[in-house]
């Protein structure tokens, strides 16, 4: 009954369990030939898991898969590739020191006399790239090309292996708005060539712009599959989250005061010893949120680390409330009134093997009343933890559970609670909503605005343009370690920012207009 050859893919009653979670619970999914089908759901909904089952990276516990009407068992990516399935992963699967061509042919290299046939490799890559309009530089090392090009390499990799069914896992997360437009064109031309595409996302706008149909999943369960043209973003949001969501952030006009943070001409190197910050300058005022927008890898991580004393400043000065803190240790910087929400909450934000109350006290652990004469006072610590858990709505059975057992959103709330409790003058939030659910995003946003209204200076570093546009009073664009320009919220549009993020700068006021007002 399911043998309908109009479907490129049919997944029936797929269930996949991990220890403690059912990531996919009896999900049905059908991909028509030649369509672009969006798979929509919040972070952690189970989208990637479903597709990894299709690509043979995971084995589903229950259910059946049909490809072109034929029942199949996909026990490894090799078999998926044989059935014409290609997957572009959320985190690219490319070998950085290899050339583009080497990455594309890896695993199915053309040979001549036992050797890789370099000439043929490059020819095949170039002709594929021409056929689908996927412009790549086949002889460059992958580590030297842009993220957008890396993505095209991933798509070519799948096409080279003869993929007719393409799975793109959150392909737009790393792209500028202009690159997203390019990707949409690429996807359209691929379907014109007869390919079928599954496009995973948690962004509603993209679904409307790209997809023919959309399947929504929530908490591992199928909600519905609908035609995009028959629905609205609000309806989709409701299906995705399970309740009405307010997509707009509600805030009053900022009332900025004096300068709290002054970053003057910062230079720093990255882990590979290359220049990461290249004369970066800006100010953050009391009572405002300054956003740093940019494509990943343009110095954002290094900037956060320099400001918090975790990375060496090569040149320039960081001033906090007029005091030069460039050479301060991290502890001194914190004690001078800086709160830090790090970009990688599992690596820098929390000790995952510690309990929540231990995590909540980190950084204050040596202070009275939590410690006295070198001895911890756990009654005080736990009492304070219980209060923070309540104030910040951290969903946990108690303060005694391990941080690692919390969901991403609740882990982030633990960090927020700890940093806000210190009552800092400057709050440095790096990607505060990365990988958390909509409920937590709303909460974190409202808390950041609350801080601003309480007269704090907030520096928000984010890769999500929507977040930057809705929260920030002023927006600085970082490109190759430099602030290209700083815009007022009113003058900033997605398009303007996108162009600046891609380095197409408008030459206006570079460096000398750090204040933008």
């Amino acid at each position: 009954m399911h043998e309908d050859a109009n479907f490129a893919v049919e997944m029936i009653n797929i269930t996949k369990r991990f220890p403690g979670v059912t990531a996919n619970d009896k999900i049905n999914f059908q991909l028509k030939k030649g369509e672009i089908h969006a798979l929509l759901g919040e972070n952690g909904a189970g989208k990637s898991t479903l597709m990894k089952c299709l690509y043979g990276l995971y084995q589903h516990d229950e259910g059946q898969i049909f490809i072109n009407g034929k029942k199949v068992e996909i026990s490894s990516p090799n078999i998926a590739i044989k059935y014409g399935i290609g997957m572009v992963h959320q985190h690219f699967m490319l070998v950085p020191p290899f050339t583009v061509a080497e990455n594309i042919v890896l695993g199915s290299e053309p040979t001549k006399n036992f050797m890789i046939d370099r000439k043929k490799t490059v020819e095949e890559v170039n002709s594929l790239s021409k056929q689908y309009g996927l412009n790549v530089d086949s002889q460059s090392a992958v580590q030297d090309i842009s993220v957008g090009m890396q993505q095209r390499v991933e798509i070519l990799k799948a096409l080279y292996r003869g993929a007719n069914i393409l799975i793109l896992d959150e392909p737009t997360a790393v792209l500028t708005p202009q690159e997203v437009d390019e990707l949409i064109d690429i996807m359209k031309s691929l379907t014109d060539e007869g390919k079928s595409i599954i496009f995973i996302t948690h962004k509603l706008k993209e679904v409307k712009a790209i997809a023919d149909r959309v399947t929504v999943i929530r908490n591992g369960k199928l909600i519905d599959t609908v035609y995009t043209k028959d629905t609205t973003t609000n309806e989709l949001a409701k299906m995705m989250v399970g309740r009405e969501v307010i997509l707009e952030v509600d805030k009053d006009k900022a009332e900025p005061g004096e300068v709290i943070l002054e970053a003057a001409d910062l230079y720093a190197k990255n882990n590979r010893g290359l220049t990461a910050l290249n004369g970066c300058s800006f100010n953050v005022h009391k009572g405002e949120i300054l956003g740093i927008a940019g494509v990943e890898g343009n110095g954002q991580s290094e900037l956060t680390e320099v400001l918090t004393g975790l990375r060496k400043l090569e040149k320039g000065a960081v001033k906090l409330k007029g005091k030069n803190i460039s050479s301060f240790s991290t502890r001194d910087i914190i004690e001078n009134g800086v709160g830090h929400i790090p970009e990688d909450r599992q690596k820098r934000g929390l000790v995952l093997e510690f309990t929540i109350f231990e995590n909540l006290i980190l950084g204050n652990h040596y202070k009275f009343p939590y410690a006295k004469n070198g001895k911890m006072n756990y009654n005080k610590i736990k009492a304070s933890a219980r209060k923070l858990i309540k104030d910040f709505d951290i969903r946990t059975p108690s303060e005694n559970v391990m941080a690692k057992s919390l969901s991403g959103g609740n882990q982030q709330k633990v960090i927020l609670a700890r940093e806000f409790a210190r009552d800092p003058d400057l709050l440095l939030a790096a990607q505060p909503t990365r990988g958390v659910d909509v409920g937590a995003i709303e909460f974190i946003h409202s808390k950041l605005i609350e801080q601003r209204d309480a007269g704090k200076a907030v520096l928000l570093i984010s890769l999500e343009l929507d977040e930057i546009l809705s929260l920030c009073d002023r927006i600085a664009v970082i490109y190759e370690g430099e602030i290209v320009d700083i815009l007022e919220q009113e003058e900033a549009t997605e398009e303007k920012l996108g162009l600046m993020m891609a380095g197409a700068e408008n030459d206006k006021a570079k460096g000398d207009d750090t204040d933008g007002r």
Binding site: P77, M93, V95, N103, G107, T111, F114, M115
Partner: protein
């Protein structure tokens, strides 16, 4: 006089470099696939012993070479199993093999020959003489006549370079050492490639071991590797994980060794020999510290791979 000294210096350098080249090539294969192999030292020692035993029992040193290579591969397979399959710490596994090797060879020496310290003399592999080249003055004196291990090591450098950088197998070995998940996602069997690479490193180290007991000498001496496995690792690092780099580094270290020997025979003491013996390690630390270019290991070197 001077020219003779220089010739003998270069000749000795090559002879001393051969075991280092062979073991370093082994290191290159293992680490390029993402498995740290500090067991090279122990594998060499066991192989040196087995080479002697093979030659002793059959009177044919080439049987000794085969035995050395076989046992080299076998011990490496144990390291591969522990590191790849059981996902144990690779340095700990290697160290355990090194300690085991020192113990088992001393023990077997006693059991088989009832002697401590060294084995009786056995037939060693006969030197090869290169036609034509041997007749060229100077060059012939340096290169013309050597134990076969010298020539084998040079040929294997070329072969290894070809295998690693020209063939699909080499590309896959390198991909597995840099980004195993990426290799996995295009259907490359990460475990299989790593097994092959680590066992290959054992074959190379086996040859290196044989070159000590039935190439340089004609008997097994307790602990006769005396750190050469580690110097070979140093050569691999100094040579930036490439066969050609490892060759140059091994030649340099062989030269330091030859210089030290020459100074000793001539009774020269302007540089204490200990300093020359230290040279490989100092150069390696400098290389690691980034003084002489940067030395970046394969990105996934030492990490066991967990399939999703």
């Amino acid at each position: 006089m001077l020219i003779n000294n220089i010739i003998s210096l270069l000749n000795t350098s090559l002879r001393m470099a051969a075991p280092l080249i062979l073991a370093a090539l082994g290191g290159v294969f293992s680490e390029r696939s993402g498995v740290i192999n500090i067991a090279l030292e122990g594998i060499m020692l066991i192989s040196a012993f087995m080479a002697m035993v093979g030659s002793y029992l059959t009177g044919n040193p080439w049987i000794g070479v085969l035995a050395a290579v076989f046992f080299g591969g076998l011990v490496a397979a144990v390291h591969a199993f522990v590191s790849i399959h059981l996902k144990a710490n690779q340095v700990v596994s290697g160290t355990a093999i090194n300690i085991f090797a020192a113990g088992v060879t001393s023990f077997m020496l006693r059991v088989m020959f009832e002697s401590a310290g060294q084995s009786p003399s056995v037939t060693k592999v006969k030197d090869w003489t290169l036609p034509i080249i041997n007749d060229i003055p100077i060059l012939g004196d340096i290169l013309g006549k050597h134990t076969p291990f010298v020539y084998i090591s040079l040929i294997l450098v070329v072969f290894s370079y070809w295998l690693l950088f020209k063939t699909p197998f080499g590309l896959r070995v390198r991909s597995v050492g840099e980004h195993p998940a990426a290799a996995d996602s295009v259907g490359i069997n990460v475990y299989k490639i790593r097994y092959i690479a680590v066992i290959m490193s054992g074959l190379f180290a086996g040859l290196a071991g044989a070159s000590l007991s039935i190439g340089l000498l004609d008997l097994f001496v307790e602990n006769m590797t005396s750190g050469r496995g580690f110097i070979a690792l140093a050569a691999m690092i100094f040579g930036k994980w490439t066969p050609q780099g490892a060759l140059l580094a091994a030649l340099l270290f062989g030269f330091a060794d030859a210089l030290q020997m020459l100074a000793q025979t001539m009774g020269l003491s302007f540089i204490p020999r200990q300093f020359l013996l230290m040279a490989p390690y100092i150069l390696t630390i400098l290389a690691l510290a980034g003084v002489i270019g940067s030395a970046n290991p394969p990105a996934a070197d030492g990490e066991s791979y967990e399939k999703e």
